[in-house]
Structures are given as structure tokens and as C-alpha cells.
């Protein structure tokens, strides 16, 4: 099955209706269907448009600072005693994470579609900040929905968004976290559908979002492929990335999908442990269902109600996952694994001390799995980890674990 699907993968997935096998699709209320088709049409028109691409490339280069470096973590590789570990430094992007690659693409598309009001959902606030940043620069109105609980936990990012001119709306419904922020953003969109562009922050939502966000994030994998070939003269042996919704992972994986020799590992948040039920690992322990516009693996109970998730990192704290990951799991092209809060935290400290790089807690999940995988590999093998964000935003959480409060 694997070979059959990987051959011509780029051409076949998603299909014209946004399906990755049984996953993906367009599951939204009728009121939004027109807007989704309008977006799809605009995206088809501009995705290969030389002017659009030139403007995006210019922004990625001079505003974001791309290409991001591929860094050989020599100390850490040596210490683990296996594969050579390269870090794709998305943490060095403007605003501190990979999120901005996507918000630039979508905001430029919004501008061309004549939509001057931007809405977004955010969990930890990274996507909200990346959206508020491009909205400020392009002079667009920006409203960010954020779970009330996350607003309390991430006061600093809330303030950053406000400084950038965005309106941050705390969402009090449901579990008051990321999934509820997404619900509320969809409610806003349905109400203001004529003049509003919804910038979704991950590879979820109805078609064309999963494919569009993937395409905008694929700059990560394209650069990494070229950089690793330049440095080692061959394809890497394995890729690793953390998975919440899965945008940084698909961004790294996608350009390598047809290169069958490259193994892929998506690392989910096992929270307090998969067996406790307190985690955010739908690919590892969920079942397929429909939420937020697409069919994918979900954390749900036997009645189809979405259940609350837990992860030390707010960016992974989501009950669903992008539909393309669900498909890559089923066809066996990528491996989906998980690490606990404690393992991620240990990796956070490890990288900080051995390499002088403070990673985001999200990215620390990928690092934690790498510390298990690398020693099983030989020193002539290479492993590329997407260091999707920097840890500045997590100082508060990490300090609190050590009993410190600022």
C-alpha cells in the first residue's frame, strides 16, 4: 500500500475535494461554503503567480529572516553517541517560531482578495502574535480568539498582540482553550463572512486550509533538503518534528514524502502519560471523527464528544490533528510517537545546556524523541529536527516547575 500511495503523492493528495484518503474534506455549515470555495479559487489563482510568490519570498527573506540556518548540534550528537543531529532553526524567525511562514502567505492572499479584516485563533499565543504582526505591517484589522484559560496563562503574548494593535477576545465557552478559540473564530467568520479572512494557524480546518498551510510551511522542508544535501551530500536518514495540529511537522516532511529512504517521526504530547488519558496525542491514542471542518484522528469519548486534552506545552494542547498526518499514519509513510511532559522538559534543559539554545516546549518533544532515536543510529547517519520555536515564551512555565515565580 505504501509504495502505491507514495508514487505520485504530490499529484494525488489531497484530491480535488480536499480528501487525503478518508480524511480532510469540507465539514462546515452551509453559510461558510461559499467563502471556502472563494478561498480555494483565490489560492489556486495565486499559488503559482510570479508576483505573489515574489512578494512572499521578499517578506520571508527581509521580514522573517529566511532561510533559517541548519545547525549541526555537535555537542549533543557526540553526547548521545549516534546520528549527526541537525536542527532546522525556525526558532530564529521573526516572532520566534515557524508560525509566521504561514501568516505571511495567508495575509498576502487576504490582501489580494480584498478582505481587510483578519481573524485568528491561538493557543499559546504564537500564531496570534504571528498574525497580529503581519496584520500590523499590512495595516489590517485583526481580531484574535484565545481561550480564557490561555489568556490567563499567556499574559505576555496577550500583551504582545495588543501592542501590535490586535483585539484579543477571551473565549469563555467549553474548556476555555484552543479548540474553543477555534469554535469562536468560526462563529465570527460565519457572521462577518463578506469582509473577513480567517487565518487558521495549523494544517487543520476545511479544505483548502490543510493543503494551503502545508504549502506555506513547506519552505522549511525545501530549505532543509537543500541545506542537508550541501552539508552531507545525501538525503537525511530521519526527520523529527513535534505535532499539535501538525503544521511545523508537515512543513518539514512534505518535500521529502516521495523520498522513501527518509524516515519521518511526528512526536505528540503524551502529557502525564498516554495511559492516564491526560495527553494530547490523537494519532497515538485517538479515533477518527469530524471536528473543525475535517475528518481526522480525534480525542473523543465513545459518544463522539470531544474530550479535554493536556500537555505541558499549550501549542500541542489540541484534540485533533491535521488530516494529512492521519493519512500519512494510515499508509505508514510517517511514524507517530509520543513523549511525556517530563521527557520534554528534560530535553528542554539538555539542549539549553549542551548547545546554548533554549527551545520551545513544543519543539522539546521532538528533541526528547531524538534523544531516544539518535543513539540507535550510526555516526554516518543524519537526523534533522525541526526546532519550530524558541523557548522565551516558556520561561514562566519552566520556572514554575522549578518552584520559581516571576
Amino acid at each position: 500500500m505504501l509504495e502505491q500511495h507514495i508514487h505520485d503523492y504530490f499529484k494525488n493528495f489531497p484530491d480535488s475535494r480536499g480528501h487525503f484518503g478518508p480524511y480532510g474534506g469540507r465539514f462546515v455549515g452551509e453559510t461558510l461554503m461559499g467563502a471556502i470555495y472563494e478561498l480555494e479559487q483565490a489560492y489556486q489563482q495565486y499559488r503559482d503567480d510570479p508576483d505573489f510568490l515574489a512578494e512572499m519570498d521578499k517578506d520571508l527573506s527581509t521580514f522573517v529572516g529566511r532561510p533559517s540556518p541548519l545547525y549541526l548540534a555537535e555537542n549533543w550528537s557526540q553526547k548521545l553517541g549516534g546520528a549527526q543531529i541537525y536542527l532546522k532553526r525556525e526558532d530564529l524567525n521573526h516572532t520566534g517560531a515557524h508560525k509566521v511562514n504561514n501568516t505571511i502567505g495567508q495575509a498576502l492572499l487576504a490582501k489580494r482578495m480584498g478582505k481587510n479584516r483578519i481573524i485568528a485563533e491561538t493557543g499559546a499565543g504564537q500564531h496570534g502574535v504571528a498574525t497580529a504582526t503581519v496584520a500590523a505591517r499590512l495595516g489590517m484589522e485583526c481580531v484574535v480568539y484565545m481561550g480564557a484559560e490561555d489568556v490567563e496563562r499567556q499574559a505576555q503574548n496577550v500583551y504582545r498582540m495588543k501592542l501590535l494593535g490586535a483585539k484579543v477576545v477571551p473565549v469563555e465557552s467549553g474548556s476555555r482553550t484552543l479548540k474553543d478559540a477555534l469554535n469562536e473564530a468560526l462563529r465570527d467568520w460565519v457572521t462577518n463572512v463578506d469582509d473577513t479572512f480567517y487565518i487558521i494557524g495549523t494544517v487543520a480546518g476545511p479544505h483548502p486550509y490543510p493543503a494551503m498551510v502545508r504549502d506555506f510551511q513547506s519552505v522549511i522542508g525545501r530549505e532543509a533538503k537543500q541545506q542537508v544535501m550541501e552539508k552531507t551530500g545525501k538525503l537525511p536518514d530521519a526527520l523529527l518534528a513535534c505535532i499539535g495540529g501538525g503544521s511545523n511537522a508537515i512543513g518539514l516532511f512534505y518535500p521529502f514524502i516521495e523520498d522513501e529512504s527518509v524516515a519521518m517521526y511526528g512526536v505528540e504530547g503524551a502529557g502525564h502519560g498516554i495511559e492516564t488519558g491526560q495527553h494530547s496525542a490523537p494519532l497515538s491514542a485517538g479515533i477518527p471523527g469530524i471536528l473543525h471542518g475535517n475528518r481526522t484522528y480525534l480525542m473523543q469519548d465513545e459518544n463522539g464528544e470531544i474530550i479535554e486534552t493536556h500537555s505541558i506545552s499549550a501549542g500541542l494542547d489540541y484534540p485533533g490533528v491535521g488530516p494529512e498526518h492521519a493519512w500519512l499514519k494510515d499508509i505508514g509513510r510517517a511514524n507517530y510517537v509520543s513523549v511525556t511532559d517530563d521527557e520534554a522538559l528534560a530535553a528542554f534543559h539538555e539542549l539549553t545546556r549542551t548547545e546554548g539554545i533554549i527551545p520551545a516546549l513544543e519543539s522539546s518533544h521532538a528533541l526528547a524523541y531524538a534523544s531516544k532515536l539518535a543513539p540507535t543510529m550510526s555516526s554516518d547517519q543524519t537526523l534533522v529536527i525541526n526546532l519550530s520555536g524558541r523557548g522565551d515564551k516558556d520561561m514562566h512555565t519552566v520556572a514554575a516547575m522549578a518552584g520559581l515565580n516571576f
Binding site: 452551509e30 453559510t31 465513545e302
Partner: protein
Amino acid sequence: MSRISQCFANLKADGQTALIPYVTAGDPEPWVTVPLLHALVDAGADVIELGIPFSDPMCDGPVIQKACERALKNDVSIKQVLGMVKKFREKNKETPIVLMGYANPIEAMGYQNFAEMAKDAGVDGVLTVDVPPEESDEFRQIMDDHEIDTIYLVAPTTSAERMETIASFARGFIYYVSIKGVTGAAALDVSEVSQKLAQLREKTDLPLGVGFGIRDGKSAAAVSEIADAVVVGSTLVRCIEEHADKLDELPAAVAGLLAEMRHAINARDLASA
């Protein structure tokens, strides 16, 4: 002829507009729902829309969101909702029941299993708000096989071309969403709705219901002027919320509100007869 089609045919013969109340099953307590449904019928409901509670009701405004939360606090599952319909049917064999909700609880049951249990319980129609026609082939087929009507939405943003597709898939009646927004949000504009309904009538002979934005007798009567059915939800659910700690008064209070709309619609129907 399905119970829904029969109901609309009878009303048409009498020159009457259908009144369709929506309530969320199990709100605020599971045992309240069946007596409430009977009270709604007594107050003049022609068809009942019974909401399946869902944890993430993204097409609904705060009133119905809270109704879902109240029901889920008591772990009201889709199977229990079907149980309520079955119990309702012990005393009522005439009033059509349409289940309204989101895709995932039905997905979790499996379409086939859901269809069998729903048919057995006496469900007449299903409206899944987040499943547009393009994603509903398999579901529609299975519902057809079990003679359960699949109800579809048409919105102010629906193009003429889509209306045609939806009309070809729709069974029972078509639900026109009168405003761009979530349930219980804004007041509707009757002349705007009227134009859209005229457009829709060119594509279908099915009865047309209008919902979202109907709050009282006056707006119900205004909509009955142009539609075959008036759907009212958030106003009733707000009344349920207000009576959440006065459960003995709840059915009568909600029924009273519906009766007011019934009278206003009847007066209008008579005037135009």
C-alpha cells in the same frame, strides 16, 4: 409518504404554516425532555427539532452552546437522545421528529447503526449542520435506505448553482438560514429572506422552513407570510435556561412562549386565507 411530507401536505391543505420548535435534548435535565416535547405539541408544534448535544457546537450562539453544556454535564449521549424519541413515540405517533446536530456523534455511532436505531426510535429526519451536500453521499444513501429524510440548509451565501444541488439532495423540507451568523444572533430581514426563498422555490417543490432570528409572535407571523415553516430555537432555549432551577414550571413556560407564536401565525394564516 414520510411523516414529514404527510405533515406538510396536511398543513398545506388547511392553509396553515408549520411551526417547528427546537430544543436541545437533555437540557437542563434528561427527564425533562419527553414531557417538554409533549407540551410543545400541545402548544401547537407541527414538527419538532431535537438537538443532539455536542461539545463543540461551532454553528451555534451562546444560548444553544450553554444548552449543550447543561446536557453534557449529565452525559446525555446520542443513544440516550434516541431513547427519548422512542419514549415520546409511545404516546405520539403523528408529530415528525427531526434530529439536529453535528456530524461527530453520528460518526462515532456509525451511519448504519445510527440509521437502524433512529428508525426504530421513530426519528423522521436528520439535519447535520456541519455536513454539506458534497460530504454526505454515503450518509444520504443510508438514510434513504432507512426512509429517514436528510434535511439540508440553504444560507444567504448559497449560490443559485448550489441551491440546485441542495434541492436535488434534500428530503422532507429545506431549512433556510435567514441570517449570516450563528443561532440566536441577529434579527432577520423579511424582505431579504423573501427574495432568497423565491429563488429557491424555482428549484424545488419541497416545503421551505426559515430559522435563525425568529424571537416572538410578531417575527414568527412575518416569516409565516413567506415560508412554509417557521423554526424557532434560541428563544425557547433561553426560556429553558431561565427555568433551569424551576423544572416543574419549565414545560408550561416554554409551551406558553410557543403558543404565543402559534396564535400569531394562525391569525396571519387566517387573514390571508
